[in-house]
């Protein structure tokens, strides 16, 4: 029997019930932190208390049976509490220093990698992709897994020039807000949706569809009680399909993956910045997306070996310039890389400020 209106709208449980004792006791009293080793840091409170946080990766989609195993470990080492980070890593907060290595042993047995702290590759933000979504051009979780497998050592070490944020979204909706990542992998369609007049006329709100298209590519087709799509104006964003099943956009032959680099969100040093297009298209090659993994790896390795300390991907590129980025990574610069949308003119290089190496 459903709840009454009064019983609805109650919100989340109180965080005070959720916090481990040590954190509750030291709430707001922390005074500094230290990175002890990759995946483990220590926070010290003005009360003299310390806690150790072990950070582990996880697959994001988890079986409930696994959740119970996580609970077992949290009961044993973490005062019966467990947390996830804003990037979905698991944080194991351990009051007793001696427990740290024991816990790590057990996590390893569970298959959870330790790391993702400090100047490491952090956990990969990813959407649901082909696991559960109707709009993807690619499978974010599958790509994330393939990239993780190849780059796992960067997750486990923390000797990169700075932190490395990688993110993957299956389509332009960019669930996860991947557009400000050091490296973003984004599924892209490359053909306009195909219009199924019957479905459109039955299932879709035509005015909403027309209004939703950013490039005004959708026109009414009153005869068919449907719409037409101007193939010259459509840039394959898929928004119309999000709201109407009658315009399927998925296309096995042309869908694929784009790569973006140099974004960040922190206000630290250079401030927030968008990721920029590095590769407009790579093919969809499940189950392991070798072309995508290779490009991501090449970018990471180039940055890792060339950036100076504290230089995030975008900060490194700012210093050396985009032409050098394309040079050093061997990626091709094409007409697709030059913005031609609303704010494009502000991204052109003004004046005649050309680095010597860019003239060659």
């Amino acid at each position: 029997m459903a709840l009454t209106m009064d019983e609805l709208d109650f919100g989340p449980p109180d965080y005070k019930e959720m916090l481990p004792e040590t954190l509750k006791r030291n709430y707001g009293k922390w005074i500094y932190h230290e990175l002890i080793k990759p995946g483990v840091f220590k926070h010290v409170s003005s009360t003299g208390d310390e806690v150790y946080t072990v950070r582990s990766g996880q697959p994001k989609f988890i079986a409930s049976s696994t959740v119970l195993k996580l609970c077992d470990l949290a009961d044993k080492y973490c005062e019966g509490s467990l947390r996830f980070t804003s990037k979905h890593s698991i944080e194991w907060i351990v009051p007793k220093k001696d427990d740290v290595d024991k816990l790590i042993e057990e996590l390893k047995k569970l298959g959870l990698p330790i790391g993702g702290t400090g100047n490491a590759m952090h956990s990969i933000v990813q959407c649901t992709g082909w696991v559960h979504c109707h709009t993807p051009a690619t499978d974010a979780p599958g790509i994330a897994k393939a990239v993780y497998d190849e780059l796992i050592s960067y997750f486990q070490r923390d000797d990169l020039p700075a932190r490395l944020n990688i993110a993957v979204s299956g389509c332009l909706n960019m669930c996860g807000a991947i557009h400000c990542s050091d490296i973003a992998v984004l599924g892209v369609h490359r053909r306009p949706p195909k219009v199924n007049d019957e479905v459109v006329s039955k299932a879709c709100e035509i005015p909403t569809m027309i209004a939703s298209c950013p490039t005004y590519a959708i026109k009414p087709n009153p005869k068919a009680k449907s719409i037409r799509i101007d193939a010259n104006k459509c840039m394959y964003c898929g928004i119309c399909y999000s709201i109407c099943p009658g315009v399927p956009i998925a296309d096995a032959k042309n869908d694929g993956v784009s790569i973006w680099v140099g974004g960040k969100v922190s206000n630290t040093r250079s401030g927030p910045a968008f990721s920029r297009l590095a590769v407009p298209y790579l093919p969809n090659n499940p189950p392991r997306w070798p072309e995508v993994v290779e490009v991501v790896k090449k970018i990471v390795e180039t940055w890792a070996s060339e950036a100076k300390p504290h230089e995030r991907m975008g900060e490194w590129i700012s210093r050396i310039g985009w032409p050098a980025f394309f040079d050093k990574t061997g990626l091709e610069f094409t007409d697709k890389h030059i913005d031609d949308y609303i704010f494009s003119i502000r991204d052109m290089r003004v004046g005649a400020r050309i680095r010597g190496r860019e003239m060659k």
Partner: protein, 384 residues
């Protein structure tokens, strides 16, 4: 031979595999639909229509497969996460127990907005499931044109940088009747996302995706423990290098003493993070409000911009809530369908937005004042 040869490949490698997890749940239908996508290189999920709990018009993502022979409905429930994603094992075990009753037990920790997500429930199981789980004080989150589930960083629970009580603000907003009403009964032009970061490090990535981002900050001076600074230097921290990257050009280090020009410090947090034992933010604390971030929109993505350089935040945060509704009300009146608030402001102009909300223009809102001479006068500002 395996039913899922391609996904089996995807299980290989050192990182824990979601395929393995799905297999553990025994959710064969979903696994097969997923395998088909790998085979065909297209998704096999389609629109699911409106499904949900009676009285709630949001929070459940309806989802059908296009192969009803294998699996038909497979919805997702977005559940409001606890502040900063802390779970007591007690509550988590109970949650698992209930979820297992109504599904295969597949869970998504977490969705990118913040909710924890429960994946794969059939239409008619939503009601009994929520009847039961609501008793454990787990509520459904947002979707569609509504107040979305907020999120906050770990803040004072374990971070020495925290300048506002992120968890408490989160808890207050997410327990507010009006907000929950606007979460569960969509009426806005589009989604509205609030995020709360304890300091300008923005570990919640709010600048990229929050319609309103609340960022802890301080107005007075950074506290310097020179002794500890020197210790960092001895341990090999290159303080000169850090100073050279200070975006406010506010740091001077002579090898002995560190000076910070607090008027020019941009609150970027870099030096504080690199020497947390030596440097502490000031005591006159409050928040910077950042407005209008969003991922790919109709004009491309927007990064959030400064709405107010500094406000004091005091429990029970009524002022903050009033401000949020001032923004929403203006947007609700002026926004088009599927237009986020930042886009409405962009389309109609910050001038109009400020005038109509009564908020004050401040030079810190802009990187630089306008460079074009195309502005308007309001009736009454000029002689007729």
């Amino acid at each position: 031979m395996s039913d899922t040869p391609l996904l089996d490949e995807a299980e290989k490698g050192p990182w824990p595999s979601l395929v393995t997890e799905i297999k553990k749940t025994g959710f064969k239908g979903l696994l097969k639909i997923y395998e088909l996508a790998y085979e065909d290189k297209v998704t096999h999920w389609t629109h699911g229509g409106m499904v949900g709990y009676p009285g709630y018009d949001a929070g459940v993502i309806g989802r059908l497969s296009d192969r009803h022979d294998i699996l038909r409905d497979c919805h997702t429930i977005r559940m409001i996460q606890p502040a900063a994603w802390f779970y007591s094992t007690k509550k988590l075990r109970k949650l698992v127990e209930i979820w297992n009753k109504y599904s295969y037990g597949l869970m998504n920790f977490h969705g990118a907005t913040g909710d924890f997500q429960l994946i794969g429930i059939e239409t008619d199981k939503i009601e009994p499931f929520f009847d039961e789980v609501s008793k454990e004080h787990w509520d459904i989150g947002g979707s569609a044109g509504d107040f979305r589930t907020a999120s906050c960083c770990i803040g004072p629970a374990r971070c020495e940088m925290a300048l506002i009580d992120t968890l408490d603000i989160y808890q207050t907003l997410m327990s507010d009747e009006e907000i929950l009403n606007d979460m569960h009964r969509p009426r806005f032009p589009y989604k509205f996302k609030v995020k709360i970061a304890g300091c300008p490090t923005d570990c919640i990535a709010g600048v990229a995706r929050a319609d309103l981002l609340v960022v802890g900050t301080w107005r007075d001076n950074i506290k310097i423990n020179q002794e500890e600074v020197r210790k960092y230097a001895e341990k090999g921290v290159d303080i000169g290098l850090i100073a050279s990257k200070c975006p406010g050009n506010a740091m001077q280090w002579d090898g002995e003493e560190l000076k910070i020009d607090n008027d020019n410090c941009m609150r970027c947090m870099f030096c504080l993070q690199k020497m947390s034992k030596a440097l502490r933010p000031g005591d006159d604390r409050g928040a910077t409000l950042v407005m209008g971030g969003r991922a790919r929109g109709r004009y491309g993505a927007f990064l959030g911009w400064v709405l107010m350089p500094f406000i004091k935040l005091e429990k029970p945060y009524e002022e903050l809530k009033d401000l949020i509704y001032k923004l929403i009300d203006w947007w609700d009146e002026n926004g088009r369908t599927k237009e986020r608030i930042g886009e409405t402001i962009y389309r109609l102009g910050a001038g109009k937005f400020l005038k109509e909300t009564g908020l004050k223009p401040h030079p810190a809102m802009v990187q630089a004042p306008r460079n074009n001479p195309f502005w308007f006068y309001w009736p009454g500002e000029v002689e007729e």
